[in-house]
Symmetry: C2
Subunit: 328 residues, 2 copies
C-alpha cells in the first residue's frame, strides 16, 4: 500500500479506502489508484466483512412483477450500501430446512415479503428472529401485526368499471381473482359497486373467478364469449387473465376492441406489447418496492413509523383494448 | 437461553443454534424453541455477521430475462447460504460513485454480469478488487479474460431458418439485433448460412438491423410488410422484436401465420401469451444462471475451472406463429 500511495502521490489511508471501496476519495484519484494496483498485479484477498442485505422474498407466480419491485427496493437500499437480496420460495428447498430457516441463516437486516403465502409458522419464526419484515401487496390475508405496502385495488376497480360505463357498455363481465385473495375481492366488489351506482347492476351470469393465470383467463373468456347474450366488455383480475381473454377472442374470431372491450390490472410490460395494447389499471410496483424498503429500513433504524400500512394509488391506463360497444 | 433450554428440554447450544439459524437441529425441536422464544418475548438483536453475496448485475433492457436468470443463480447459490444480490446499473447512480464503486463497497464474494455494457474501466476496477466475475450472455464483446456463459446463438439461428425453409418459405426476412452485438450477428449470419446451404440466398432487401426493442420490431416490420414483394416470413433478433412484428401485421390486417410466419429468439414468458403463441428459439436462462453461479463459485473456492466459456444449447419451440406460406 505504501508503494502504491507513493506512486499515486496520495496517503496510505487513501489507498486503503480505495481498496475497501469506501467513499471519501475523488473519482480521479480512485481510478488512478486502481490502475496502479492493477499494474502492479495486486489482487486483494476478499476478507472484508460483507455488507448486510435486505432480502426480497417472492413466490413464483408473482415474479412477472419482480423486476419492477426489485428496482424500487434497490433505489432506496443502495444508498446505504446494503445488498438487495432475491429469494424465490416457490423453488424446491432442501428437505431439512424451510425457506425461512435458510433466510434466517443469511442474517439479513430486513425482509420484504413480496408474496402472500406466509404460514403462521413462518411468521412466528421471522418474528422471533428480531429481523424486521414488511409485506408487499399481500394478495391474501397478511398475518396480523405485519406492516405492509399495497395499492388502491378498490379505486382501481371503480375506475375500470366507470370507464366501460362511460363508453356505453351495459353487458359487462367481471373475472375476479382467487376467492381467498382480499385484493382480488376488492377489485371485483368495486366493479359491482360502481355498476350499481350507475344503475347497471352486474349480472350474476357474467361473474367468474379464477387464479391469476393466462390459462384461467383463456378458459373463463371462452366460457363468457360462448354465452347466448355475450358480454361486450370484460374486466379482468389481472393482466395475465386479460391476455387469456385476448386469446379466447382471437379463437372466437372476435376483434378487440370492436367486438369486445378488455381491461386488465397491473400494467405488466407485456400489456404494451399485445395487439391492441391493453387498457389496464396500473399498480406502481416500483414505488411500492421503494415504499416497502423505506418502511423496513425505518424499523432497522429502530424508528417506530407513524404508519405501518402504506397504500399507493392505482391509475387507469387507457389504451387500445376499450371502445364503445358495437350494438350500443 | 438457559431458561428456554430448560423449558424445551434441550441443551443451551441447541437454543443458540436455533437463534443463529444454523443447521443441525431437528425441525420439530427448532419449532418448539422458536415458539418458546416468542412466547417469552425474546427479540434477538441482529448483530451476527451477515452472509456474503453473489451479486447479479443487470442493465435495464435485459431485465425481462432477469427473474429466470436470478432463479437459476439462486438454485446454486442458496446451497451455500449466500445471498443472491440484485443490481440494475441502468438506474441513475450517485454523482460521486459509479455502480462498480458501489458494488465493491458491498463486498460480494462473486459477481455475475448479466449485461454487456462494461467499460474497460469497470473491468479494471473489478479485476483489481480480486472479486471473481463471470459474464452471462454478453451481447457485445466481453472484455478479454472474463469467463463467460452464453447460449448457442448460431445453431439457434440455423434451426429458425431451416424450420421456415422446410415449411416452404422462400421470401424470408431477417431482423438482426444491434450491429455491435456479437450474439445478434451470430443469429443473423446463421440464418444467411442455412439459407445459402438450401439454395435460397437471403435477399439484401429483406435484411434489417435494430435494437432489441418492441418499437424497433414494429417499425422494421411495417417497413418490410410495405414492400412490393413482401416477405412471407420474418426471423427476429429476439422476442420483443417479434411482438413488434405482430403489431405491424395486425395494423396491416395481415394474419399470423396465414399471411406471415414469425419467429422470435429468447422464449420470454410473454411469447406464450401472444396471439398466436410465438414460435421461438429458447435460450435456457435459468440454466445459464445456474452455470454462471457454478463457475463464479469455483473461482471463489480458488479452483481453476478447466473451461472458462460455457455455452448452453438453444431449442426451437414450434408454436402457432409459423405455417406454410399461402402463395407457395
Amino acid at each position: 500500500m505504501a508503494v502504491i500511495a507513493r506512486l499515486a502521490g496520495v496517503s496510505t489511508p487513501t489507498v486503503s479506502r480505495v481498496l475497501n471501496g469506501r467513499s471519501g476519495v475523488a473519482s480521479e484519484t480512485r481510478r488512478q489508484v486502481e490502475a496502479l494496483l492493477q499494474e502492479h498485479g495486486y489482487r486483494r484477498p476478499n476478507v472484508a466483512v460483507p455488507a448486510a442485505s435486505v432480502e426480497v422474498v417472492f413466490f413464483g407466480l408473482e415474479s412477472h412483477l419482480g423486476i419492477s419491485i426489485l428496482r424500487g427496493v434497490e433505489r432506496v437500499v443502495r444508498q446505504r450500501d446494503l445488498v438487495v437480496g432475491f429469494t424465490d420460495v416457490s423453488m424446491p428447498g432442501s428437505k431439512s430446512r424451510t425457506w425461512a430457516d435458510q433466510l434466517l441463516a443469511r442474517r439479513p437486516v430486513g425482509v420484504i415479503a413480496a408474496h402472500s403465502y406466509f404460514t403462521p409458522q413462518d411468521h412466528a419464526l421471522l418474528s422471533a428472529s428480531g429481523i424486521p419484515m414488511v409485506a408487499l401487496d399481500p394478495a391474501g390475508i397478511p398475518p396480523e401485526a405485519v406492516p405492509s405496502v399495497g395499492a388502491a385495488n378498490w379505486s382501481g376497480g371503480v375506475a375500470a368499471a366507470r370507464h366501460l360505463l362511460l363508453l356505453g357498455h351495459r353487458r359487462i363481465a367481471v373475472i375476479g381473482g382467487p376467492v381467498n385473495s382480499l385484493a382480488a375481492r376488492a377489485r371485483l366488489e368495486a366493479c359491482r359497486a360502481a355498476m350499481d351506482a350507475a344503475g347497471v347492476p352486474l349480472e350474476g351470469r357474467l361473474v367468474r373467478n379464477g387464479e391469476f393465470f393466462f390459462e384461467e383467463g383463456l378458459a373463463l373468456g371462452r366460457d363468457l364469449l360462448g354465452l347466448a347474450d355475450r358480454p361486450t366488455a370484460v374486466v379482468c383480475g389481472n393482466d395475465l387473465q386479460a391476455l387469456g381473454v385476448y386469446e379466447a377472442a382471437r379463437l372466437a374470431r372476435l376483434s378487440i376492441p370492436d367486438d369486445l372491450s378488455v381491461i386488465g390490472f397491473d400494467d405488466l410490460d407485456c400489456s404494451h406489447w399485445c395487439g391492441p395494447p391493453l387498457t389496464t389499471v396500473r399498480q406502481p410496483f416500483d414505488e411500492m418496492g421503494a415504499a416497502a424498503a423505506a418502511l423496513v429500513l425505518a424499523f432497522v433504524d429502530g424508528e417506530v413509523p407513524s404508519q405501518t400500512r402504506v397504500e399507493l394509488p392505482t391509475t387507469l391506463m387507457v389504451r387500445g383494448s376499450t371502445a364503445p360497444p358495437r350494438d350500443r
